[in-house]
């Protein structure tokens, strides 16, 4: 979703500075794309699997703050199911995972519909 060149030219032709063009026209029209990108990547990370086995380290400790290492839920489910006998906890985690994905997808739907409404003007 690139910002059309015509927006930029239209703005500059009014005698605005580069920054006024970026903050007033380019960023606002790119916002729907940026927001969708952020939400989609959150959804992706929450559901990510094998890659995180390697990259996330699969920390066993509960995270203390936002900067401490953690693990994705999918990995948690895998560990519980394959390395322990706590199937009930694995199933519970799976349920929460599914609920989060559903909520995120609903949020994307609603927000993109709202942006579409705002920008198409209908």
């Amino acid at each position: 979703m690139a910002v059309p060149r015509s927006y930029r030219e239209g703005s500059l032709a009014l005698g605005t500075t580069k920054w006024q063009t970026i903050s007033g026209v380019v960023l606002p029209s790119a916002t729907p794309g940026i927001v969708t990108g952020i939400v989609l990547s959150i959804g992706r990370i929450v559901a990510e699997t094998a890659i995180f086995w390697v990259t996330l380290g699969g920390s066993y400790r509960l995270p203390k703050d936002i900067m401490s290492s953690g693990r994705t839920m999918a990995l948690h489910v895998y560990s519980l199911a394959s390395e322990t006998r706590a199937f009930d906890k694995a199933l519970g985690t799976s349920a929460i995972l599914i609920i989060i994905i559903v909520i995120l997808n609903l949020a994307i739907n609603i927000s993109s519909r709202q942006f579409a409404k705002k920008f198409s003007g209908k």
Binding site: G15, P28, S29
Partner: protein, 260 residues
């Protein structure tokens, strides 16, 4: 050939050439454009009409490979010596395809004045109404001023873009085939509007449509493309003379539809 204008000239171009990298797009153009008149630029595709138009507000500066030679002056001051932002405030532009911002009608017009430091809501309201009235759009949109500019029809969008250009109170308005993407009814509306605007503004319009140039302009420049594809000025003069009594054979051939 003599390129002087009767009456006051607003823009004057002297030995102006433009290059895209090594390719020469405009060659040695010398012309004065009259103030408070409509000047149309006609010529076959690729002859540099739009490039020439975009020279006046230095829109070509956005393309890194562009180089120019020669002089362009507005009110006897070189356009390369004034600040480019200031220049574009004084020389507005309307593009070939309507390009309203994805904002409300109000915000589309208030954007320019606001960028130039007008914050007072009352004054902004007045500017928006005045600009929309000047662009003969007010009566159609006054009840939906907060609706998106993109919800308007093509012709309305183009008038919105004209209103947006007027809102910053330019002295010159450049129009790059402003009606080529519109239907005949919307085209006539835009032409009427241009006629009304010439009292206050100097207008330069590029057009592919010969009838439009003949109908809607006072002064005409005819461009052609040389062997090496560089654009040059063939003939200029009052529109009526160019269309009824052209001096150059090439002009005669072009306006009678024998090439181009």
């Amino acid at each position: 050939m003599e390129h002087k204008v009767n009456g006051k000239s607003k823009l004057s171009v002297e030995n102006y050439s433009l290059f895209y990298g090594k390719f020469q797009a405009l060659r040695d153009i010398t012309i004065d454009l009259p103030a408070n008149k409509i000047t149309s630029i006609i010529g076959p595709s690729g002859c540099g009409k739009s490039t020439f138009l975009r020279s006046f507000n230095r829109m070509n500066d956005l393309i890194p490979s562009v180089n120019t030679k020669g002089k362009i002056e507005m009110d006897e001051e070189s356009i390369y010596e004034v600040d480019v932002v200031e220049l574009r405030k004084r020389v507005g532009m309307v593009f070939q395809r309507p390009n309203p911002f994805p904002k409300s009608i109000f915000e589309n017009i208030a954007f320019g004045p606001r960028a130039h430091g007008i914050r007072d809501k009352q004054i902004l309201n007045e500017i928006v109404e005045k600009s929309l009235r000047q662009a003969v759009l007010w009566d159609e949109v006054k009840d939906s001023i907060n609706k998106s500019g993109l919800a308007l029809s093509g012709g309305q969008q183009q008038r919105l873009c004209i209103a947006r250009a007027l809102a910053v109170e330019p002295e010159v308005i450049l129009m790059d085939e402003p009606a080529s993407a519109l239907d005949p009814v919307a085209t006539l509306k835009i032409e009427d509007l241009i006629q009304q605007l010439k009292e206050k503004y100097t207008i330069v319009i590029v057009t592919h449509n010969m009838q439009q140039a003949a109908r809607a302009s006072d002064f005409t420049l005819f461009f052609n493309m040389a062997e090496d594809r560089a654009g040059y000025l063939v003939e200029s003069g009052n529109t009526i003379d160019i269309f009824t009594n052209p001096k150059e054979e090439l002009t005669e051939q072009y306006i009678s539809g024998r090439f181009g």
